[in-house]
Subunit: 354 residues, 2 copies
Amino acid sequence: MSQFWSESVHQLEPYVPGEQPKVTNLIKLNTNENPYPPSAKAIAAIQAANADSLRLYPDPNSDALKQSIANYYALETKQVFVGNGSDEVLAHTFQALLKHDAPLLFPDITYSFYPVYCGLYDIHYKTIALTDTFAININDYQQPNGGIIFPNPNAPTGVGLDLKDIETLIQNNASSVVVIDEAYIDFGGESAVALVNQFPNLLVCQTLSKSRSLAGLRVGFAVGHPDLIAGLERVKNSFNSYPIDRLAEQGAIAAMADQTYFDATCHKIITSRDFLTQQLKQLGFKVLPSQANFVFTQHPTHDAEKISAYLRSQAIIVRHFKQERIAQYLRITIGRHDECVLLVQALKEYLKGS
Amino acid sequence: MSQFWSESVHQLEPYVPGEQPKVTNLIKLNTNENPYPPSAKAIAAIQAANADSLRLYPDPNSDALKQSIANYYALETKQVFVGNGSDEVLAHTFQALLKHDAPLLFPDITYSFYPVYCGLYDIHYKTIALTDTFAININDYQQPNGGIIFPNPNAPTGVGLDLKDIETLIQNNASSVVVIDEAYIDFGGESAVALVNQFPNLLVCQTLSKSRSLAGLRVGFAVGHPDLIAGLERVKNSFNSYPIDRLAEQGAIAAMADQTYFDATCHKIITSRDFLTQQLKQLGFKVLPSQANFVFTQHPTHDAEKISAYLRSQAIIVRHFKQERIAQYLRITIGRHDECVLLVQALKEYLKGS
């Protein structure tokens, strides 16, 4: 606390990201990073970027990157917004599109940055309980609101919502912005990008951090009606003219273009997720059906925090949230196959010994 | 305009950065970039960064970068804040430290992003006129305020303020935060970093975009009392956990460490500034005394906008602001010596022909 802080700062409860340990030789299954490296073409594009040109500002509009995303989804560039990771895209989205008199709605169990953004921008919000099976029931969102946001598939549950339900939700809330946060969509969900040309109130956010293995480069984007994008641009251009650096732009463009590597990587992760799910179930774990690059799992007779601590002692880190309804769950990122095998072995040891 | 925008978005007047042309072969003297490439050590550090590691998030706290800046200025890391360019650092500063009941004070002629930030965060502000010689008179800031900010040297004038005056200003405003925006300090000004251990209400912002030739990499920082830094961290961690990507962090650390190259580059720019100033004066221009990597200049009988348009026709771009008091001035970035020579030749042609 300090007399010099703006008043609103005293009330903030900042987001706490998963641990980024500074030691190596850990099996890191706690922050949903991709276990495979970025596309070699992305690395080559970064290496090929003109080092001398780093003395110059980047393109403030990142037009080339927007074009590559527009091409990927057969959209126009004015339907594309880019930012320094999807967290920055989401921050601008909350400020630009989700602050209204009626409350913003999002699930009680969801990405825990959402209430933080609401605190930062003084946005009135209301959480809607997931069902007993951790599903989103779109009927629960049939109430006055100033916007709706949730991840699909949801985090940290991994549970997906059908595109048909999303379409109904958007239609039922035609005077609010509906934001679908698709950080994990490429691992088996149905993307709502297919709907952006139909609905002026739909914004879809994605990231290159997960399915394109570029968490370290910080690039995210949103697609939607040009009017929504224009609102985001107004806020972005009142905050930081140049959020995407020259190397990030080149790497991101090359990553978007390498469909073969992207497909192969996503396929490997889905295969490992199926393997891990089956193995966990054999050990007695309950595993929620996941469309993401992680599973959300609970053992009926073993405490989640204790399992997490044991895994940590075995140099395996997973994510545990001390939060109502999910305190007995672990969120485990899908690693390489050999990492999944080591995780299962460690869990077997733990269950045998306790 | 859109019904979906948050109310505040309708009123925003976003910042307009200088043109970043997509054609080459221009002499680009319009956005105060460094004419010399980044340190070869910075480039080597980026090239040496583990490409595979880009799949992992960066360190959310950028501890290694903070340590390198702390080392550079003999401070502690808790006195250092880093961001995606000093524009992001400034944005967080406005939100975290400069929103109070009393108005924020800054000069009438200054960095034109300041009123934009005030619009973004709904901060009440009051501008204080520079003197007739475009100087800051610290006595004019002796009035109730919720904070004071200005660049030193000021932009777009290049005029510096003595450290003694800055110290007096900080002492006279002990209950407000005083932010000194030192984007251009390395080209001849006296840095207020020397005062941060003395005054808990002083924040100094700097950037690697200018003197360290890394505008394209997006790294800026602030140093000050740990309580001020803690306020900035609260806002940053409520906005984006990972603003500095892995490559930017490595490049910035190496650039901070290469004192020899930094000294040589700054020296060359100062020498060219002296040369250009003298040449402009010989052509009849009035040139404000500059401590920056640009000069602010006016011709007594030739219209600034017309000169700018002529230079553009000769493939030289400089910056002209359509703003009261300075509409007859041009801001010209200091280029390489050969670029300064070509600029002077073009101006000679123009003055001869008109």
